[in-house]
C-alpha cells in the first residue's frame, strides 16, 4: 500500500512533465494540423536555458532557493518561447500552403538542427546540476518503507497546476484564446473576421514552447542531469501522451501525460525497468485499436 502510494506520487510528477510537453504537440496539431517533431528539442532547449541560468545565479552567488528557481523558470520560458517562435517563423511558415508532408520534414530537420546546435555549443557530455531543493515531507511509514513527497515533487505538481490553470484561462476566456480556437476550427473564416492568422499561429508556438520550458526546467531540477539528446525520448513520450489523450484535445494531452507517467512508473516498480517504454507504447497501441481518436478525442457530428 505504502509502496503503491509512493509510485503514485512519482508517476504523477513524471506524468505532469509529459503533460506539459504534450500540450504543445496537441496545440500545434490543432491549429495547423502538423506534428511539430522539433517540440521535444524545444523542451531540451528549455532545460539547457534553465541550467545556464541556474549556474549563473547560484555559482555567481546572486541568489538561491525557491526565488532562484522561480527566476530561472521565467528566464527559461522567455528564451525558449523565442526559440519556438523562430522555429515556426523560419522553418514552418514559409511552407504553409505547400504539400502536407513538407512542414513535417522541415520539423525533423529543425529537431536535428537544435540537437546538433546544443551538442556543438554545450558539448556532448551529460550536464549535472546539484539538487536545488533537497528534502521532503514524510507522508506515512509502513515497516521500514517511508512514503515521501519531496519538495521537488511538490514544486512540479504545484507549478504544473498553476501553469495549466493560467493556460486554460487563456484559451477559454481571452481574445487570443478565442482567436486560437477559431483558427483551429476554420482558419479561413478566422481571417475573414479580421484575425491575423499568422500572428495567432506564431503565438501558439510561443505558448507551446513556454510550457515545454516549464517542463524542461522541472525535469532538470528533478533529475539533475541533462544532455542534448533528452528531447528525443521525452518528445516521443509526450507525443504518445497527446495521441493517447486524443490529439487536438488540450485536457486529453494532460490526461495522456499523466497516464504515460503512471504506466511507466508502475511498470518499473512492479515488473521491469527495462520494459517500461514497451509498456507505455503497448498501452497506446491497445487504446488506439479500440478508440482511434484517443481517450478525449473529438467525434462530434457537425451539421453542414
Amino acid at each position: 500500500m505504502a509502496y503503491a502510494l509512493q509510485q503514485l506520487i512519482n508517476g504523477v510528477s513524471l506524468g505532469m512533465i509529459y503533460g506539459l510537453i504534450a500540450v504543445g504537440y496537441t496545440m500545434v496539431y490543432g491549429i495547423i494540423g502538423m506534428i511539430n517533431f522539433a517540440h521535444g528539442d524545444i523542451f531540451m532547449i528549455g532545460a539547457f536555458v534553465a541550467l545556464t541560468a541556474m549556474v549563473m545565479l547560484v555559482s555567481g552567488g546572486l541568489m538561491e532557493g525557491p526565488a532562484a528557481i522561480l527566476l530561472v523558470l521565467a528566464i527559461s520560458m522567455a528564451f525558449t518561447a523565442l526559440y519556438g517562435w523562430t522555429v515556426e517563423r523560419i522553418a514552418y511558415r514559409p511552407l504553409r500552403g505547400s504539400f502536407r508532408l513538407a512542414p513535417l520534414i522541415s520539423a525533423i530537420g529543425m529537431s536535428i538542427v537544435l540537437q546538433n546546435f546544443v551538442q556543438v555549443s554545450q558539448g556532448a557530455r551529460v550536464k549535472p546540476l546539484e539538487p536545488q531543493l533537497p528534502g521532503g515531507i514524510e507522508l506515512m511509514r509502513e515497516g521500514t518503507f517511508v512514503v515521501q513527497l519531496s519538495y521537488m515533487q511538490m514544486l512540479i505538481i504545484a507549478s504544473t497546476l498553476a501553469v495549466l490553470a493560467i493556460f486554460t484561462w487563456l484559451v477559454t476566456k481571452t481574445p487570443l484564446g478565442r482567436a486560437m480556437r477559431a483558427c483551429e476550427q476554420d482558419r479561413k473564416m478566422a481571417s475573414l473576421l479580421g484575425i491575423d492568422t499568422d500572428r495567432t499561429i506564431s503565438l501558439t508556438f510561443v505558448i507551446g514552447a513556454s510550457l515545454a520550458a516549464v517542463a524542461g526546467t522541472l525535469y532538470l531540477l528533478r533529475y539533475g542531469v541533462i544532455d542534448f539528446y533528452i528531447g528525443f525520448l521525452a518528445g516521443v513520450k509526450a507525443f504518445t501522451a497527446a495521441v493517447l489523450g486524443g490529439i487536438g484535445s488540450l485536457p486529453g494531452a494532460v490526461l495522456g501525460g499523466l497516464l504515460i507517467g503512471l504506466i511507466e512508473t508502475f511498470w518499473s516498480a512492479y515488473f521491469s525497468v527495462q520494459y517500461k517504454d514497451v509498456a507505455a507504447f503497448s498501452i497506446l497501441a491497445i487504446v488506439l485499436i479500440f478508440m482511434p481518436t484517443g481517450l478525449l478525442g473529438r467525434q462530434e457530428v457537425e451539421k453542414v
Partner: protein, 241 residues
C-alpha cells in the same frame, strides 16, 4: 478618398483556381447605401468573386478599390479591418464555439466592444438570443444562417458581402432574412453586395443587379429592369415563384 468614390469598385478582375480561370475580367461597382445583387447559375463564379474581394483566392490581375483605396494585394485580415464583412458560402460557423462566442469573434479583431453589436443582432434575430450558449455546430441551417449574418454585422461593416443567405432555408425564414437586410440598409445605410440563386427575391430587394455567367458579367441594370428582361425570367426565375 473622395466623397464621390464608390464604396466598392472592381476593375477587370481575373481569378484562377490552379489553371482554371474562374473570373474572366469582372468589373462592377457598388455605391454607398446601395444593395447590389449578383445573380447567376451554380458555378458562375459568384462565391469566387466575393472571396476574391477579400483576397482569398488572390486576384491574378485587375483592381479592387474600397472607397478609392486599392485593396487588391492586401492580406485578408487587413481588408476586413478596413470595414468589409462577409457571410460566406457554407456559413462557416465555428462549430465548437457557442453562439455568443461566434458573435464575439465578429467584433473582436475590430476592437469593438461587443455589447452594442450583440444587442443589435439579438434584436434582429431573437432566436440567436435564446440559443446564446448553444454550440454553433448544433444549430439548424436557418439558425446558422442568422448566426453567419449576425457575426458579419458584429464588425459594423461599411460593406457587407452576403453569399446566398437564403440557401436551404424555408421560405418564411428566407423572407425574414431578406427583410432584415432591407431594414439594415434603410435604417443605417448599410451597403450590401448580395450573391443569390434566388434571383426573384434578390432582384426585388436590390437597387441594382449584375448577371454573372461563367466568370463574366453579361447584363446589368436596376432590379426592376432585370426582373422585366425575358432572358432573365427564362434563365433564373424558372416560371414565377
Amino acid at each position: 478618398m473622395s466623397a464621390s468614390a464608390p464604396m466598392l469598385e472592381v476593375q477587370d478582375l481575373r481569378t484562377f483556381y490552379g489553371a482554371v480561370e474562374a473570373l474572366k475580367g469582372v468589373s462592377l461597382h457598388v455605391d454607398p447605401g446601395e444593395i447590389v445583387t449578383l445573380i447567376g447559375a451554380n458555378g458562375a463564379g459568384k462565391s469566387t468573386l466575393l472571396m476574391s474581394l477579400c483576397g482569398d483566392p488572390r486576384a491574378r490581375s485587375g483592381r479592387i478599390l474600397l472607397e478609392g483605396e486599392d485593396i487588391t494585394a492586401m492580406p485578408t485580415h487587413q481588408i476586413i479591418r478596413r470595414g468589409v464583412a462577409q457571410s460566406p458560402e457554407g456559413r462557416r460557423i465555428f462549430p465548437r464555439m457557442t453562439v455568443l462566442e461566434n458573435l464575439i469573434m465578429g467584433a473582436q479583431a475590430m476592437g469593438h466592444d461587443p455589447a452594442p453589436g450583440l444587442e443589435r443582432v439579438f434584436a434582429l434575430f431573437p432566436r440567436l438570443n435564446e440559443r446564446q450558449g448553444q454550440r454553433g455546430g448544433t444549430l439548424s441551417g436557418g439558425e446558422q444562417q442568422m448566426l453567419a449574418i449576425g457575426r458579419a454585422l458584429m464588425s459594423k461593416p461599411r460593406l457587407l458581402l452576403l453569399d446566398e443567405p437564403s440557401l436551404g432555408l424555408a421560405p418564411l425564414i428566407s423572407r425574414q432574412i431578406f427583410a432584415a437586410i432591407k431594414a439594415l440598409n434603410e435604417s443605417e445605410g448599410l451597403t450590401v453586395l448580395l450573391v443569390e440563386q434566388n434571383a426573384n427575391q434578390a432582384l426585388r430587394l436590390a437597387h441594382r443587379g449584375y448577371v454573372l455567367v461563367t466568370g463574366r458579367i453579361t447584363m446589368s441594370g436596376s432590379g426592376a429592369e432585370l426582373l422585366a428582361r425575358p432572358e432573365i425570367r427564362d434563365a433564373y426565375l424558372g416560371g414565377g415563384h
